[in-house]
Amino acid sequence: MPILEAKALRKIFKLGEHTVHALAGVDFAIEKGEFVALMGRSGSGKSTLLHLIGGLDRPTDGEVTLAGMQLSLLDDDKVTLVRRRNIGFIFQFFNLLPTLSTEENVALPLTIDGKDLNAYQEQITTLLRHVGLEERRRHKPDQLSGGEQQRVAIARALVTQPSIVLADEPTGNLDSKNSTAIMELLRRSCDELQQTIIVVTHDPRAAAYADRAVFLRDGLIAKELRFKKSMKVDERLSTILKTMENIPEQS
């Protein structure tokens, strides 16, 4: 039983007189503990797919089922609750609250959920250790580097132990050294915490940390690659690059 399942997903945008088929019928599923990279050029529909999976937008057609819940049957408040408890988000621009410390930013989803933070102190400490920021728990975002800020954002996404973590270009705003660190961290989160993760990226290097790479083109899945656990990152990368060469330009 997949933790997330998308069936015949279609999303049509109206831009003036034009209609854009951002997603033209996508079937997609992810098992618990799986790490998937969604790849594709800009306009391929990868971000739209992420938004629909994350309950940030509603499909024109089709169905998203997350942890047994059909998102289209839920109203805004219910979907909000699903996001709060079942989904963790990581953004390109980190999006930390500047007034909150590292620790408080990590705890933000719990705060929003009205949880008693004292009961979660240990978990937060463990997470901070996991992302390597135990020493900087009292720092404000403007005292952290970009890479550190993104690590805070990852800890924030993990704090509710969500069914799935969705990351939209998590390395898009980082240099290569920090990018590697972030992808390694996500990989570890998957391996050590059995966290299900979907990463949207156009960077093949980032995608090489996933178990599976899904290529989108013109709103459809063009190709899927599954990697064996034993495969090294470099081997995965060359496979991805080769595949990318074989996928024609968008029409």
Partner: protein
């Protein structure tokens, strides 16, 4: 250029709400300035016209030197006529009376100057001569015949119609003897002299008037028509001098316009109040414009950065923003002028109530239109300069950068230093530097403003403190998401400071106004207790006969009766100049049976003071006068009397605010001896302790009310009507505070909208993390609540301070002796309003935040 203007218009249309807010700021300023300008002009014009038209072609007027001493002997007429250059001397006697019909008897108009009797103003004229100076427009019937003894009257048509009086029939009017019947032989229009007393006006032959009002051979005024060749200004000056010389100092020879001037002076206080409105409106408008344009610039940071990368210079960016301001100011001024004209109509009606005088609208002068529109444009430009400058400073890099928080640490530090300096400086000025009057109170007021300014500068540095102080209560109210919101207040600290300052000023204004009103209220209450002593106050709008005192005393249940006479007199200053004062004459013996004086700063036995007063050549002076001129017990004061200048010994200082405190008290004996006045303005009646006050009042009314045309009021009624008048005046100031609060609330709307806009992406992130719309609403409301708390708290602090300084200013400059009372009610009201306003104003921005579409928000930059 046209291209640029089109661009400016398009960018204004793209942000309709903001454009509306800015326009509102401009419209507010222009409309208020214009309407006040029109109102002031209309009021002055109405007063001047009234006096000039009612005096008609008169070149000079002769009156008694002390106007209220009443008439003078008509023998003077011949002396005046004999002066070379006088073409005609037109006699006039005037009297205020009432129709005998009961309906009008107790009618009084409450006006800005006090209580004026309603009823009918009657001029006694010499029909042959009067038409030389005044134009009566006859509408029906005939004018007065030359026979001076006919019992005829000519009334203003509207007045006649309102009172169902018909041409050819009789009308009965009240006179000292009871009543007189006059035949209505003509009706005139409400023009020229017909405008007097709001049209409640009539003319009767001179001799008839002297007869029925029991003033034989007396005149109130002689209007002079100069000979043709003597009408140049120089010639009139010469004629005035030679007339004055001829008839002596007990008469005044004046130009007719100066009568109007005296009234204008009285009106000027009211006009000053209105002008303060203008200034506040300009500030409020500028604040709104500034706020809205700052918001526009913040919102367009990226766009402007992009334009800069495309090669737009700083100056071009500034110019574009300023062009938008100019475009808007033209539209705003046009609307403002329209609204101002409408507003003026309303304001003129209010003025009419205050002045108890019709004020017809004047033609609106082009200069007023131009100046108000000009001020509107200049203020708009000035208010836009800072945002435009900020726009010019936007770096091209902004186009590429994600929006972060600008680092304003240095500015906050500077604010802290300058703010502290202002606060300390102001405190030193107020408490440690004794600056002598008349500068002291002004300096102190400036210091309070400086303190508020300093306080506003301290806000950015102190918001964190406020947040911690209120954390627990915000959390209780809005939960943990509320706390997230209130912590956001530490972000755009200067914007917050501006909004908080606006709220602070509003709250401080409410408080000061309340405090001053309460202090005045209490003080005047205690003074009225003394001033309107006894239980009943008996007065009439026509002269009362002296036998009334005995008659009143004989009414069953009456314990004692004492007469009072209010008289306008002049004091002679050491330099020989004169100054108008009021004299309250009392009969010390009966006065002490009914009521007492409130002595202050006086050493000795009150009974002895009264004995000295009864002895003659002695007066009491008010504390206001004593303060103003440094007068002490035992000093002397020189008054101008009918028997020349006389020195009066000051037996005691009393609390008395009659005539704004410019009053002295004298004895009945001196009144007769030196001012030759012998009638009472009012009688104070003390009811026996076991008698029923209402019953006695009714008994007096039954016996003499109608016959003697008396109004008998209980002191309770009188007190409440006097206090009512004070209430009306303070409500004018309440309107000011109300405007300040509205502007502050618009500031909150603006600031919170700006915050929401600026944090769109962050809000989107919170929504994607699972924050519900309601949680988001609470978060925004909590932030606004904190603005309300800080604004309310600081406003309270400074308001209490300001009200103390205001009261001590009033005490030291006007010589009042007000006691400061903490305005508990005002504190509660202003705090509740501040919090309520902050929440109400945040509803719109909160709704906007809650409605954000998440995907657009997280992609928003």
């Amino acid at each position: 250029m046209i291209q640029n203007i089109l661009l400016a218009i398009r960018s204004l249309i793209a942000r309709p709400l903001r454009t509306l807010l800015t326009t509102f700021g401009i419209v507010l300023g222009v409309a208020v300035i214009l309407s006040i300008n029109i109102t002031n002009r209309s009021t002055l014009a109405a007063i001047t016209r009234l006096f000039s038209e009612s005096s008609g072609r008169t070149n000079l007027v002769v009156t008694n030197a002390d106007l209220t001493l009443g008439g003078f002997d008509e023998g003077i007429l011949y002396r005046i006529s004999s002066v070379a250059g006088v073409d005609a001397a037109v006699p006039l006697i005037q009297s205020q009376t009432l129709l005998a019909d009961d309906s009008q008897r107790n009618e009084f108009n409450v006006s800005f100057f006090g209580i004026v009797p309603g009823g009918l103003l009657v001029y006694g004229i010499d029909p042959a001569k009067d038409t030389l100076v005044r134009d009566y427009k006859l509408e029906a019937g005939t004018f007065l015949t030359e026979d001076p003894n006919e019992f005829h009257i000519v009334l203003v048509r509207e007045f006649a119609e309102e009172n169902n009086l018909q041409l050819g029939k009789s009308v009965t009017i009240r006179t000292p003897a009871g009543s007189a019947r006059l035949k209505i032989i003509g009706l005139i229009s409400r023009e020229g002299p017909g405008q007097l007393n709001n049209g409640a006006f009539g003319v009767v032959p001179l001799d008839t008037a002297q007869k029925i009002f029991e003033r034989p051979n007396e005149l109130d005024q002689v209007d002079i028509l100069a000979a043709e060749e003597n009408r140049s200004p120089q010639e009139l000056d010469a004629l005035k001098a030679s007339l004055q010389d001829r008839i002596g100092v007990q008469y005044s020879v004046i130009f007719p316009a100066t009568q109007g001037k005296r009234v204008s002076q009285m009106v000027s206080g009211y006009q000053t109040g209105l002008n303060i409105f203008s200034i506040i409106a300009i500030f409020a408008g500028a604040f709104l414009i500034y706020n809205a344009f700052s918001m526009t610039v913040i919102e367009r940071t990226r766009e402007i950065g992009m334009l800069r990368t495309l090669g737009m210079t700083r100056w071009q960016v500034m110019k574009q923003i300023l062009l938008e301001a100019v475009t808007l100011s033209i539209a705003g001024s046009a609307i403002g002028i329209g609204l101002g004209i409408l507003l003026a109509r309303g304001l003129i009606r209010v003025t009419e109530v205050f002045l108890a005088q019709d004020v017809s609208d004047v033609a609106i002068p082009a200069s007023a239109l131009i100046s108000s529109a000009g001020i509107g444009m200049i203020v708009t430009l000035l208010a836009t300069i800072i945002p435009a400058w900020q726009a010019g400073r936007i770096s091209p890099l902004e186009a590429l950068r994600i929006r972060g928080n600008s680092d304003d640490t240095i500015a906050i530090q500077r604010g802290l230093r300058i703010g502290t300096a202002f606060m300390l400086g102001s405190l030193i000025v107020i408490f440690l530097l004794p600056i002598p009057e008349p500068f002291g109170s002004r300096v102190n007021n400036m210091a309070v403003l400086g303190m508020m300014f300093g306080g506003a500068l301290l806000i950015p540095a102190s918001v964190g403190l406020w947040e911690r102080l209120t954390r627990a209560s915000v959390r209780r109210m809005y939960g943990r998401e509320g706390q997230l919101g209130s912590r956001n207040i530490e972000r755009s600290r200067w914007r917050t400071a501006l909004t908080v300052a606006a709220l602070m000023i509003g709250v401080a204004m409410i408080l000061s106004i309340r405090a001053v009103t309460i202090a005045f209220d209490r003080d005047i209450r205690s003074w009225i207790d003394v001033y309107i002593g006894g239980d009943l106050f008996v007065f009439s709008s026509i002269p009362m006969r002296n036998d009334l005192q005995a008659k009143l005393a004989a009414v069953p249940g009456v314990d004692a009766v004492t007469p009072i006479r209010y008289l306008d007199i002049k004091r002679v200053k050491p330099d020989g100049e004169t100054e108008p004062l009021a004299l309250t004459a009392v009969d010390p013996a009966s006065y002490s049976q009914v009521t007492s004086f409130a002595f202050t700063d006086s050493v000795g036995d009150p009974a002895d003071f009264l004995a000295q007063l009864a002895g003659g050549d002695t007066i009491f002076v008010s504390s206001v006068l004593a303060e103003k001129y440094g007068l002490k017990q035992g000093d002397t004061l020189t008054l101008k009397t009918r028997r020349g200048e006389r020195k009066f010994k000051i037996a005691a200082i009393v609390v008395d605010y009659y005539n704004r405190g410019m009053v002295v008290q004298g004895s009945w004996r001196d009144l007769k001896r030196y001012f030759q006045v012998n009638d009472a303005s009012a009688y104070l009646v003390q009811v026996e302790s076991d008698a029923d006050e209402t019953a006695v009042q009714q008994q007096i009314d039954k016996l003499y009310g109608k016959r003697r045309n008396l109004t008998i009021q209980s002191n309770q009624t009188l007190k409440s009507s006097a206090l009512n008048l004070i209430g009306q005046t303070s409500s004018l100031f309440d309107v000011l505070a109300f405007i300040a609060m509205i502007v502050a609330s618009l500031g909150v709307v603006n600031t919170m909208t700006m915050n929401v806009l600026e944090r769109t992406r962050e809000l989107g992130m919170l929504r994607s993390l699972g924050m519900t719309r309601w949680q988001m609403t609470k978060m925004i409301l909590a932030e606004a609540l904190l603005i309300g708390v800080i604004g309310g708290g600081l406003g309270l602090l400074f308001g209490l301070f300001q009200s103390r300084v205001v009261i001590s200013t009033v005490n030291s400059t006007a010589g009042y002796d007000l006691t400061y009372i903490i305005p508990t009610q005002g504190i509660i009201v202003s705090l509740v309003i501040a919090l309520f306003v902050s929440q109400l104003a945040a509803i719109l921005p909160a709704a906007r935040a809650a409605r954000l579409r998440i995907i657009e928000a997280i992609q928003f930059e």
